[in-house]
Amino acid sequence: MDIKSLQDRFQEKVDAEIKIEPRDWMPDDYRKTLIRQISQHAHSEIVGMLPEGNWITRAPSLRRKLGLLAKVQDEAGHGLYLYSACETLGVERDDLFQQLNSGKAKYSSIFNYPTVTWADIGTVGWLVDGAAIMNQVPLCRCSYGPYARAMVRVCKEESFHQRQGFEILLTLSKGTEDQKAMLQDAVNRWWWPALMMFGPNDADSPHTARSMNWKIKRFTNDELRQKFVDVCVAQAEILNVTLPDPDLKFNEETGHYDFGAIDWDEFWAVVKGNGPCNKQRLVARNKAHDEGAWVREAAIAFAEKKKQREMAVAS
């Protein structure tokens, strides 16, 4: 079969909402796009463990410590599912780690911001997991089967994280003046970076059309961002916090909230490595990887010895 008819058949399947599976023929660019997107997502889960892990040992109560530890552990699990999904496309986890540790691979820029108070932990759950869910729920219907299935599991846990974060903040909102101030300060710092999580405006997002045609993406960046803003306004009211945007206002005509301009200079600065924590995140990942090398080597050596011994017994 020639390329053209393979391509046609591929697109017919995608259009008919039939999942593409690892053994199916797929265009090179489709494979590359998926590898890039899934590995970036996996890296984000792993790097995302760092800002939140930062507070596990300082969590203010036993219940919160358990909740946060379980959450960060979930993120490791998400990383694992996603690396596995990525491996079905013919790349090895080790190579992906290599790309992450060398600084070549990207991950969600939001994790280059510091978690400086306990309220940040609640805010990350509310806004960052919240934005992740907005982005990821449509991915449960992604045309690539292994990715879609991984996302179903991930999304269930992300929505639990979002509720847990919101509940942390709700507790602060009913607390002392110090706690309320801590809450407002955290929302002030995380609101705009959370909006940036949806990526550049549609006009500056050249691959969106192709990804939508492949049914990897279902909504544009701006559509998702708008949905997120609309949902958050009501939730902010419950928390009794102000979202730090003087232009935020309901538009009777569109039925949506209008919001101010995003500082894309900041966005690109962080993407390019100049966020407050880009360097620390990479240092931490490299340290874990390098200091773990002897452990991985020993595990392989031991498994090999064990196999030899079992073979010796068997023969």
């Binding site: 109560s61 530890l69 340290k287």
Partner: protein
């Protein structure tokens, strides 16, 4: 109030060891093992929380589990010294875990026959968990002891650092014996030989030497800790100390 002191003692070791394991989250050598170690931390902290809740009930008044876990003075914590020792490398963490797990495995089996129904129920619930913990830490001790020359050497270092803190696991003080007398804990006398036999078995499989009994450090049960402890508490208690009385 003796029983209250005793329940606190049982809560403190899993709390402090769980707190130490939290430091690993996100920094493990292998993603799957990062998850596995967090699981153990969750179990330990969950167990300590059950015990602190019970202790708070015994104490009565407005005392909460968090008051007990987060606002006592260093001298009031009764955890084993081994639980507060620095994580060091992955092998040291797992060897520390192994020594504690073996103790905890036999101890919880003894506690499940407690005349105190609440403690018996807590022990019963945790036995399944500690059985898994002990298998997991044993496997890692064996794997690293019998892995490469480098890993073997690192396990020897860890053994040397941790061994003096193992004596405390099988030494019982007045409070322990008093609780045994009233049936809160049973058959303590069995634990030392059970612990030793299991440790000899696993260290043997790991091709690691069985250290001489030697000089053993103690102080955990009477609240005289190593210098590591103050820093653990400074970190762990920070929020409760900075915002007294706040609800989280």
């Amino acid at each position: 109030m003796k029983k209250f002191e005793y329940v606190l003692r049982l809560a403190d070791s899993p709390l402090i060891l769980g707190q130490r394991l939290c430091e690993w989250c996100g920094h493990g050598p292998i993603l799957e093992q990062d998850i596995a170690l967090s699981n153990i931390a969750l179990d330990l902290l969950g167990l300590s929380r059950n015990l602190f809740q019970y202790a708070a009930e015994l104490k009565g008044g407005n005392v909460t589990e968090d008051d007990l876990a987060f606002t006592r003075q260093e001298r009031e914590y009764q955890n084993f010294l081994i639980c507060e020792q620095e994580n060091g490398h992955w092998g040291k963490t797992l060897l520390r875990q192994f020594f504690f797990d073996v103790y905890q495995y036999y101890f919880l089996h003894a506690l499940k026959n407690s005349s105190d129904e609440r403690l018996a129920a807590i022990a019963l619930k945790s036995i399944k968990e500690v059985t898994y913990h002990m298998r997991y830490s044993s496997e890692w001790v064996i794997r690293l002891g019998d892995g490469t020359t480098e890993s073997h050497g690192k396990m020897l270092d860890a053994l040397e650092a941790l061994w003096p803190f193992t004596g405390e696991l099988t030494q019982f003080d007045e409070l322990d014996l008093e609780m045994e007398k009233i049936g809160v804990i049973k058959n303590l006398a069995q634990i030392p030989s059970q612990w030793t036999n299991k440790v000899i078995e696993i260290l043997g499989m790991a091709t690691l030497p069985i250290p001489e009994k030697g000089w053993m450090q103690k102080g955990g049960k009477s609240g005289v800790h190593t210098e590591a402890m103050g820093f653990i508490l400074a970190e762990m208690q920070y929020m409760q100390r900075a915002y007294p009385g706040a609800k989280w």
